[in-house]
């Protein structure tokens, strides 16, 4: 498990610093929090996918004993729209309801039961409108429904602005890449292959349902606790949607949040806030809004259905000469982070192979479904599902081994990608070699029975991390030597608190037990872009190193005066400051602090030892016409995965008998936690998305909103421990802290194509949509048999 290591704390598999709380039940999540005199909220939701709200009668609900507040979407409660990139959403729908489950009213009452009863008493009159669900129809120039007639007047974000399409009214973002002339290159290709792929809508299924708690103090200041992964994003959403001064909102995220995977848009928090603010006079009672599992599965963000069209040209020897793609993220009623997903799903295909000509048209469109947005991989598991299935088909056409085709075309250090960016820290080849080794590529496994067909498949992938990007932090040295990190990175389970502790341990040469990480609190912890895009290790890690240097400088300046030396000869370890080479000339950190008469400690100057730093990487915005950019991303994490599957041709059941992954994370700060990310990405989400998971809808209504029907992988769906291998590849990044990049999002981007390629190897059937279910396998086998008979 340990990797080659010259450091004391970096690169070691420290136990999770929050682990004891988690294994003893002491860990408190937002949903466990109770405040005195708390009210409980419930939401009235639209039964229609697209409808005009004619009237809402709340009189019966208001009369119900125990009901304290009833709100609807109006000027008072929901004055402004908000959104990640396109401000297209009100906290409660105004004018139109745009999906089944769209929030149209909300109640706060003494108990959840009373609130639910009141919600049922709210009478809403709707005028049904024609909905649109299909991606191609929504994308068309004359769609059956236009969701946002006023789209062009909406406020948009300046840093990464969305681009609308004059002729396609449901397009909420369009992004293009043009590297040289693909059309000319296709003419010179020996083989041109074209395909279309899709992925189904799936859900993150974080184990803790979404939850928000809001309270207002006597000055009107709002404090909100929640389960979001982006405290400052939520801070902006809440203040913007109500026209509040940003300084009058405080956001706190508990130390424990039950998973995110990209799907923590703060809707519960927003509604809880509205229910508090709508109370007249003082004191206002706090409100808790805890979504049920069904509400989570039916109304919170999803990974969108995605349409991927790909055309490639290659020479007979396998050299890629042209790649042309068009993708449509079939989004929901509100763009959310989907506006960026639709754009950034193109990054994976742009960086996988060194194609001299490359063209991409990436769109995101509105449909009458709940918001689709960020999901582990941020569009790239979807686009690479297409690209990596397609590569195997190309390999077959060319009669070249799929592994060899990838090795000869994949990007390497110094190659230009489709953005014409010079690639750095590219572990593609090492990952491919490791995956091939661990799956025993080329070696046939013996079939157990004639109806159990075995096959192997491999796929390459990568995941970029976002620019522009910034992380800031404070590092405080306490009088007893404890070093405290104040960061707005959210510990969602990925282990950020532990690896940040290891980083500080390394900088201050103290054990992890002498480090503490505070939970995000916008009054205390400074700005961070968000716990997303696998960006925390790299961005916050760099900020931590800089802040540690600042804190140490302050420490040494103070100690130098006490020790009668210059500060440049000092270093620190084990909470002591000493002269390099003369450890006898030293003092404990505590000796800098003077105990005071009534209590507490003081420094002689400077108030406290607090290092602070920002790591800011603006990158270079891609050219709007060509996508050209020297720095469109902060780094790329490469991954190769391979699968062995067993297909039962009698039942259609597919079993993943073996699965291997190799991930290039730059440097594993904590190998055990890197493995944890790999395990979850591959075994739960990779296998789940390939074979099991789908949000099934009929006229916008989710038909499988319980665990009985929405199939998550269980212990029985994953390969045995001996048949799963995870390799850590460390291709150091010159700007990464200790060379580290990230890992989480890159872990599922090639799982589905590896599995589908293995299925093809087993039964000779190519699937273009996931999930690949037993029914589809049986139908396809039947068709294939009929063809061969015919």
């Amino acid at each position: 498990m340990e990797t080659n290591n010259e450091y004391k704390y970096i690169g070691t598999s420290e136990r999770n610093v929050n682990g004891v709380e988690k294994v003893t039940g002491a860990a408190q999540y937002c949903s466990d929090m109770e405040l005195s005199r708390m009210l409980y909220g419930k939401v009235k939701r639209s039964p229609y996918p697209h409808a005009r709200i004619i009237s809402i009668d709340t009189s019966k609900a208001k009369e119900l004993p125990g009901v304290k507040v009833v709100i609807v979407g109006d000027e008072e409660t929901c004055p402004s729209r908000f959104g990640a990139g396109v401000a297209d959403e009100y906290v409660l729908a105004r004018g139109k309801a745009l999906y089944v489950g769209d929030a149209v009213a909300a109640v706060a009452a003494e108990t959840e039961e009373i609130a639910q009863e009141a919600v049922d008493l709210i009478e809403v009159e709707y005028e049904e409108l024609t909905p649109v669900f299909d991606g191609d129809e929504a994308f068309s120039r004359n769609p059956p429904a236009i969701l946002h007639e006023e789209l062009k007047s909406y406020k948009t974000i300046r840093s990464v602005p969305p681009r609308f399409d004059e002729n396609r009214p449901n397009v909420f973002n369009y992004f293009r890449i043009r590297r040289d002339n693909t059309e000319e290159a296709f003419k010179n290709a020996d083989i041109v292959l074209e395909n279309r792929f899709e992925v189904a809508m799936i859900h993150h299924v974080q184990m803790e349902p979404h939850c928000g708690i809001a309270k207002v103090d006597g000055t009107g200041r709002l404090t909100v606790w929640g389960t979001t992964s982006k405290p400052y994003g939520m801070h902006r959403d809440i203040s913007e949607s109500r026209g509040m001064e940003p300084s009058s909102v405080r956001v706190i995220i508990p130390t424990h949040v039950g998973g995110s995977f990209g799907g923590r848009e703060p809707k519960a928090e927003q509604i809880a806030s509205s229910l508090v603010l709508a109370q007249k006079g003082y004191p206002k009672r706090p409100v808790k809004m805890r979504f049920t599992r069904e509400e989570q599965l039916t109304t919170t963000t999803t990974r969108a259905r995605y349409i991927v069209e790909i055309k490639t040209g290659a020479k007979k020897d396998g050299t890629l000469v042209a790649t042309k793609m068009k993708t449509i993220l079939v989004g929901g009623a509100y763009a959310g982070t989907g506006y960026l997903t639709a754009r950034n799903g193109s990054f994976g295909p742009a960086a996988n192979y060194k194609t001299p000509t490359f063209s991409m048209d990436a769109y995101g469109v509105y449909t009458n479904q709940r918001m689709a947005g960020a999901f582990r991989g941020f569009g790239n598991a979807e686009t690479l599902w297409g690209m990596e299935s397609h590569m195997d088909m190309l390999a077959e056409e060319l009669n070249i081994d799929p592994l060899k085709l990838r090795l000869m075309n994949c990007t390497d250090e110094g190659d230009l990608n489709a953005f014409q960016e010079k690639m750095h820290s590219v572990g593609a080849k090492e990952c491919l070699h490791a995956a091939a080794r661990d799956i025993e590529w080329g070696k046939k496994t013996e079939q157990k029975a004639p109806h159990l067909k075995l096959g192997k498949g491999i796929a390459l992938g990568n995941k970029y991390s976002i620019v522009p990007t910034a992380s800031a932090c404070f590092v405080k040295v306490h009088p007893d030597g404890l070093v405290e990190l104040r960061t707005s990175t959210v510990e969602l389970g990925q282990g950020s608190n532990t690896i940040f502790s290891q980083m500080i341990s390394e900088e201050f040469k103290v054990p992890v037990s002498k480090v503490r990480v505070l939970n995000p609190d916008t009054d205390i912890t400074p700005f961070d872009l968000g716990t997303a895009s696998s960006r925390s290790t790299f961005n916050m890690g760099n900020a931590i190193r800089k802040a540690c240097a600042d804190a140490k400088k302050q420490l040494f300046d103070l100690a130098a005066k006490e020790l009668g030396v210059t500060e440049d000869v000092l270093e620190t370890a084990e909470s002591r400051v000493f002269v390099k080479g003369s450890p006898e000339k030293s003092m404990h950190v505590s000796e800098l602090f003077i105990p005071m008469v009534i209590g507490g400690y003081t420094l002689k100057e400077g108030a406290e030892i607090i290092g602070k730093a920002t790591y800011y990487l603006p990158g270079v915005m891609p050219d709007p016409e060509t996508g050209a950019s020297e720095r469109p991303a902060s780094f790329y994490m490469f991954v190769a995965q391979a699968a062995e599957v067993e297909v039962d041709i009698e039942t259609g059941k597919i079993r993943v008998t073996k699965m291997v992954t190799a991930n290039d994370c730059g440097k594993a700060i904590n190998p055990m936690m890197v493995e944890g990310q790999q395990d979850g990405g591959v075994l739960s989400m990779g296998i789940g998305s390939a074979l099991l998971e789908e949000v099934i809808t009929d006229n916008g209504v989710m038909l499988n909103p319980q665990f009985a029907d929405y199939k998550l992988p269980t212990t029985l769906d994953c390969p045995d421990c001996d048949n799963y291998k995870s390799a850590i590849i460390e291709t150091a990044h010159r700007e990464g802290p200790w060379g580290a990049k990230g890992v989480g999002e890159g872990t599922m981007v090639s799982s589905a194509p590896a599995i589908a390629n293995a299925i093809y190897d087993a039964i000779g059937i190519r699937f273009h949509d996931i999930p690949i279910t037993p029914e589809q396998v049986l139908t396809a086998l039947k068709e294939k048999n009929q063809e061969s008979l015919g």
């Binding site: 598999s13 004891v20 294994v23 466990d32 049920t292 979850g680 591959v682 739960s684 269980t714 421990c721």
Partner: protein, 152 residues
């Protein structure tokens, strides 16, 4: 309201509750034992798993009154003071949790299984834990942690 008498983590508890109260609500809301989590309220995810007379039970689909006179153990009652149970230690050593929301239920299911099983195979463990969902770990380290526990 009905009278309820039971033992929770070794302590005798007497309470008056409304008859529709689930065991999970009683433990989590009434007693403040927030370790067991509600993940679905339908007995399908296992986050609320506790032990009733040693057996793993999904506390969200059993009424508190159904465990009258019985002994309930929650995650809070598993460690012996400062000394963690070997299953808890194994989960820590293997990194067998991430967000931790399913962890209390997973550990209680694992513990209930290990107390009954003798020299279990990986297949046995996978079957025993198949009713407990986890989204973070892919179960890999959970299975390894459970298999690593030395059964005395």
């Amino acid at each position: 309201m009905e009278n309820l008498s039971l033992i929770v983590n070794g302590e005798k508890i007497e309470a008056k509750i409304s008859p529709e109260t689930t065991l999970h609500t009683f433990l989590h809301d009434t007693l403040g034992l927030t370790g067991s989590k509600e993940g679905c309220g339908e007995g399908l995810c296992g986050c609320c798993t506790v032990r009733v007379d040693g057996k793993a039970v999904k506390s969200c689909i059993i009424l508190a009154l159904q465990v009258e006179g019985k002994s309930v153990q929650t995650i809070e009652g598993l460690a012996d003071g400062e000394t963690l149970d070997p299953v808890q230690e194994a989960f820590l050593d293997h990194g067998a949790f991430q967000c931790g929301y399913c962890t209390p239920g997973m550990i209680m299911a694992s513990k209930a299984f290990l107390d009954e099983a003798s020299k279990p195979s990986e297949k046995d463990v996978r079957h025993a834990l198949s009713g407990n969902l986890c989204r973070c770990t892919g179960y890999h380290k959970i299975i390894k942690a459970t298999l690593s526990v030395d059964q005395k």
